[in-house]
């Protein structure tokens, strides 16, 4: 565990504050998730399951919290972030290291493709490795939780971020506006709050948006 001191807050919505590892795991109403209960449910479904939800619904954040809780409980955990199907090699290595009871936590499970995913799930079962994955849709693994979002979730996250200048803290109207603009994608909503913070900090003369791709 790392304690920190001394960094200026800067923009509270910058990546270092809002990346999944830095955010708390909250439910759609903004309440802390019961990680212990989720782990119990994970054991009940056999140790392998999927966290399902749309973009920016908190799957990765929850995955990281569950991984940390599993580790804290003395389990072997490997974290794998899939970008392309070519990432099967590190995934295979992680599954091998987690043989006989360890858990491979996989972000972006769908990137593997349907057939390779089935093969990996089968191979993991064969070696006794468990899989905890994030996915946009239910798949071959049982669904542990469907992640959902709401303005209350964004409000709760904002309240937990570091406070800089009090005058720049977004209000309820800001949260509602960015949640609507981001179509429920919390990550996107937090980035929109970043823009609002920058505009307010620099004064009204500065336009908000850049070009995004």
């Amino acid at each position: 565990m790392t304690g920190t001191a001394g960094r200026p807050v800067g923009n509270p919505f910058s990546t270092r504050h809002v990346r999944p590892g830095a955010l708390p795991a909250l439910d759609s109403r903004g309440r802390p998730r019961d990680v212990a209960a989720l782990l119990a449910r994970l054991d009940a479904v056999g140790g392998s399951a999927a966290l399902v939800g749309t973009h920016g619904s908190g799957k990765t954040t929850l995955l990281l919290h569950l991984a940390a809780a599993l580790e804290a409980g003395g389990r072997r955990v490997e974290r794998v972030r899939l970008r392309t199907v070519a990432d099967w090699a590190p995934l295979a290595g992680a599954a091998w290291r987690c043989a006989r009871g360890g858990t491979v936590c996989i972000d972006s499970w769908e990137r593997l493709g349907r057939l390779p995913a089935l093969l990996v799930a089968w191979a993991a079962r064969r070696v006794g490795a468990r899989l905890l994955v994030t996915a946009h849709r239910p798949g071959p693994l049982p669904t542990l939780l469907e992640c959902a979002t709401s303005p209350a979730l964004v409000t709760a996250l904002v309240a937990r971020l570091p406070r800089g200048d009090a005058a720049l803290v977004p209000g309820a109207a800001d949260v509602d506006a960015v949640f609507r603009a981001a179509a429920g994608n919390v990550r996107e909503a937090l980035f929109l709050l970043y823009d609002r913070h920058e505009v307010r900090r620099r004064g009204p003369a500065a336009p908000a948006a850049g070009v995004r791709s």
Partner: protein, 147 residues
């Protein structure tokens, strides 16, 4: 020099306090200038410290993932070396010509002195102290791209 405490919810017990004194009170340095920092660590039992790292680094901040560059790094282990570095010590280094500190809209570049303590319990504590390299003014904001 007072240090603003931020995000210290996970600070170990007992919470260390790291105070630093820059040789330039305004913490503004020119490119390739010498930097000297005196630090003092309080609130710890020196025997509980397994190692100490002191470094001068720059990092990016903003809407992208953070990138980090290490300009100076030193790890001190063992009783004899730790006795030189605790409860206080000095970091002296010649700063490079780049990257200069920058307060952009989606990209910010910050320089800092870091003192990281590793405890025998397995916990660690890092204290960061930001300073400016160069005098690049903050970006004024986004401008229209269309001609």
């Amino acid at each position: 020099m007072n240090v603003a405490e931020a995000g210290a919810a996970a600070a170990p017990v007992p919470a260390p306090r790291v105070g630093v004194q820059f040789d330039r009170p305004d913490r503004r340095y020119a490119a390739e200038q010498e930097l000297a920092v005196r630090y003092d660590v309080a609130g710890i039992e020196p025997a509980a410290v397994r190692a100490l790292e002191r470094s001068v680094v720059w990092y990016t901040e903003g809407k992208g993932e953070e990138d980090l560059g290490v300009h100076r790094f030193e790890r001190l282990e063992g009783a004899a070396r730790l006795a030189e570095a605790l409860p206080g010590g000095t970091i002296a280094v010649r700063l490079p010509a780049s990257p200069l500190s920058y307060e952009g809209v989606v990209v910010k570049i910050r320089w800092c002195v870091r003192v990281r303590l590793f405890f025998a319990s397995g916990r660690d504590f890092v204290s960061e102290h930001v300073f400016d390299l160069g005098t690049v003014p903050p970006a004024r904001g986004a401008v229209e791209r269309t001609a």
